[in-house]
Symmetry: C2
Subunit: 215 residues, 2 copies
Amino acid sequence: MAFFSTPQIADMEQRYRATLINSLGGFKSVVLVGTADSNGSTNLAIFNSLFHIGANPPLCGLIFRPDTVQRHTLSNIESTGVYTINHITEDIYINAHQTGARYAKDQSEFEAVGLTPLYEESIPAPFVTESPLRFALDLREKIPIGINGTILIIGQITQIWLPDNVLQPDGFIDLEQVGTLTCSGLDSYHRTQRLARLSYPKPGSIPQKLLDFSI
Amino acid sequence: MAFFSTPQIADMEQRYRATLINSLGGFKSVVLVGTADSNGSTNLAIFNSLFHIGANPPLCGLIFRPDTVQRHTLSNIESTGVYTINHITEDIYINAHQTGARYAKDQSEFEAVGLTPLYEESIPAPFVTESPLRFALDLREKIPIGINGTILIIGQITQIWLPDNVLQPDGFIDLEQVGTLTCSGLDSYHRTQRLARLSYPKPGSIPQKLLDFSI
């Protein structure tokens, strides 16, 4: 096996280390975050650090590095208190990746990469028309992470839009039917193939594959 | 499209809401976290909230809900300051899911689910022998999230073990060659199929699919 410990990790060339460490945690959620500033100018940015914090109230977290193009997204969220999250499918993943380029503050990534803003009532931030699963959040908490200067933004989900036929009777969303992709590292995009849903684990029994739940 | 807003989300049956909100963020990392208490008694727990915080120093975050079986993992991390993260493959995902059962504090999940602890020098927490990609972390920060009582644990990666043939020249880990799975919702496991790695995005150009980088 290959082995690296703290001194070897510290000695790595910077870009090599970033690529390795970003690959290490496994497959990740990859989404587009839509925002607008107080004048309505839009911004769209790709993130692979979205994670679940709780269901009641419904909360998600996102990690921001203020020294990157993400800073426009962060300042918009702080200015309006609202942002949208939009899933990425095979049809738009190259456009989505391109939102990571360093566009000037006054250029909208929507126009630059060829995606279409969509507005819903009472949400000042743009959704992505081409995304089949979208939700809006209100900013709830901003937590500075002292150890490396990143910022954790926690939002509460206030609106959810998804295709009718992907929602199972128990609330499970069939993301393969949505067409949602996953990513690894900084630049690798993947579709998925389900092995199984498994029954709730209990001591003394073995998890069973749930019966076919497709519609 | 189906639509839900704050009042509808609040009115959902609790289990339905948990399943829906846990599905909403897209595909997730799913890993086994290995710990030991100060007497060396081992614990193993499945987590789907791992996320990247930074590469230099190399940092990952994990969200804990103290009212679940995760509390044994959290108290062990606080007691020894060390934990391991182990990727989950098709060979062990049913065993991995079963670690989520509510075993008694004095029963090791390793034995209960049929996985094998593995110790490396200077790491008091057990790795999982059956996992092909494993890393160890030192606890660096514990951040209480006031809004819902969860806890963010930040660790620094101190040891990395991975198969020789999965590491690309630029530091990218080919997780499909590792056999790493991803998950969605609370109980759905998926293998992946790469679409492409894309070139670094720059204004005015279109991301290119990187040439075949397999070994």
